[in-house]
């Protein structure tokens, strides 16, 4: 039961953190110089119209009261009207979030699979030229900003080689599949439209790759160092002495315990993915929540900014809890220490 209590407490704490985050977002939104109502109506609107809107937006109330109204609405999924799309922010979020999740999940899968494989190869051929090349590669992956990868990939695969479509989610003339999850690749598969899936996948691949590079390199580095550490442990020597084939030792006995640090940093990588999506979606014109948020920021669209940050905060918090669960499932010691600390 100890581990369940541990996770329960984590969820309980997270709720308070998210409440705190909502206060922080509210403060940020209110320190903005200028009058949100004036911004919404434009410079030429008569004063009485602006004053009416101020009253309607509760802008004349004291700040704590304003926060109360704001939080009540936000909890009901009502973030107000986007000052620029002129639609409900909630509707915008519902439309744009799936595209972002599709992108971030795909890049997470690429980062996990490729990163862990590269790390394992690197550890297997430790101190050979293969290891050297892979380590150099991961160094560059870690230090290169996501927007640089995005531009380089766009330049190389999209424009110079023309292997992949440079922007958007679907080619012209291909009908969108019926909306089930909002992720076009998934929806196309569910509807059995394989041609649509293939087209959507090709559009998805390049931004997802650009987004995954940093996390991929990080995963590779951590997998390598943790496998290299475990490689010198006694239990591996014992298994070798028993004559267990190297391949089996590597895949069955070395990889699993070595993956725990890799998975622990996955939450941080997910965070990096969410934030780098702001740049990558902008560059590839990917109609996701991050591009929406980025545009909202560049236009000072207050309601939209608040909603995007809060939703990304919730997503990140959930990811953190999931990572705790997975690490706990993989590593009995963590479950035990959670139980012992009861």
């Amino acid at each position: 039961m100890g581990f369940v209590t541990f996770i329960g407490r984590r969820i309980f704490q997270s709720i308070f953190v998210l409440l705190g985050l909502s206060i922080l977002i509210f403060i940020i939104a209110r320190i903005m110089p200028g009058d949100p109502a004036r911004v919404a109506m434009g410079a030429r609107a008569p004063d009485w119209v602006v004053e009416n809107l101020r009253e309607q937006m509760h802008l004349n109330d004291p700040l704590p009261v304003q926060y109360g109204y704001w939080l009540r609405d936000a909890l009901q999924g009502d973030f107000g009207i986007s000052l620029f799309t002129r639609r409900n922010v909630a509707d915008d979020v519902r439309e744009f979030l799936p595209a972002s999740l599709e992108l971030v999940f795909t890049s997470g899968i690429i980062a996990g699979v490729v990163g862990i494989s590269l790390g394992a190869i690197s550890a297997r051929y430790k101190d050979t030229w293969i290891d050297g090349v892979l380590r150099m590669f991961s160094y560059f992956g870690v230090v290169t900003p996501a927007f640089v990868f995005a531009i380089l990939f766009l330049l190389l695969f999209g424009l110079a080689l023309q292997w992949l479509p440079p922007i958007g989610r679907l080619s012209d003339g291909i009908p969108k599949p019926p909306v089930i999850t909002g992720m076009i690749t998934v929806d196309a598969l569910l509807a059995g439209q394989f041609a649509t899936f293939w087209d959507a996948f090709k559009h998805l691949l390049m931004p997802a790759l650009a987004l995954s590079m940093g996390a991929l390199a990080q995963e590779a580095r951590i997998t390598r160092s943790s496998m290299a550490d475990n490689l010198s442990k006694d239990y591996i020597a014992a298994e070798r002495a028993l004559g267990i084939p190297e391949r089996v030792i590597m895949s069955r006995f070395l990889l699993k315990p070595s993956l725990i640090p890799t998975i622990s940093v996955f939450a941080l990588d997910f965070a990096a993915g969410l934030s780098n999506a702001f740049l990558v979606e902008l560059i590839f014109n990917w109609p996701g929540l991050s591009r929406y948020g980025m545009n909202a920021m560049l236009r000072k669209d207050l309601n939209a900014i608040s909603a995007v940050i809060l939703i990304l905060g919730i997503t990140f918090t959930i990811a953190n809890i999931v990572v705790d669960l997975v690490v706990g499932a993989l590593d009995p010691r963590i479950r035990l220490s959670a139980e012992r600390s009861e």
């Binding site: 160094y139 980025m294 560049l298 990304l312």
Partner: protein, 309 residues
Amino acid sequence: MGEVIPARHSHPTISLEQVKLMERQTRRENLGRAWYKFSRNSLSLVGAAMVLLVLLLAIFAPLVAPYPEHVKPFTDFANAKLPPSWAHPFGTDEIGRDILSRSIFGFRYALWMGVVVLSLVVPPGVLLGLVAGYFQGTRIDTIIMRITDIFLAVPPLILALAIASILKPNLSNAMMAVSLMWWPWYTRLVYGLASTLRNEYFVVSAEVSGASTAHILFREILPNVISPIFTKISLDMGWVIIIGSTLSFVGLGVQPPEPGLGTMVASGAKYLPDQWWIAVFPALAIVLIVLGFNLLGDGLRDMLGAEEI
């Protein structure tokens, strides 16, 4: 000769000068050992060399840049969009400015960003971590660490973008936005270290002998957490420069015509793929500087044995 330490039993007498000499030798040996650990990994040396190169280029930019006047408002449409050549190793941009010169000056903005942000965030972040760690389990700890958690609940780039976007877009506001988001990392790092150290005997005995809280925080605990902090500072120089150039890239940092590296990548991106050099060389300059600080930071970590980072 100065005072003489009285001999005990049959030990030979040692003068204070000799003690000092021995201390000096030990210190030299420790330095030598640290240098050995640092230089054992040749990549650390490469990193240190890269950082040194960037520093020198930034400091002496007006002397080493081939066309320093291209940083100021300047146009030369006859020489616009020239590909890399001997006269312009990195080519020229859309209005004829030498990209090498502008990149060299761009290092100044990148380093300035890193130095200002870190000197703003490290002292308060470390102080809060020390206090919360020392008063572990009390209300002070709870308040400080819960606030820290709130700031860590959203990736720093997103909140920095949000804050920078509602302020006037310029370099100092970008620095402020990043600083507001960066201190919690130091608080969390120092908190973890300080909360274990506070139960060590040297802290407890200082408490028992009546030392002030300030003495315990700054003279007992702080010296023991200083090496992870320095390692993190070196690694963070790279991350802050990445975030800074990202802000500049979306137009919320260094404003044109000032040569911010991210700003240059953004304006060069419009001329891809045909005039690739306008965006690619400033981007490589960012990679060079961040790579240098990362390699250096990894070397420091090996040297100081700070695995916590």
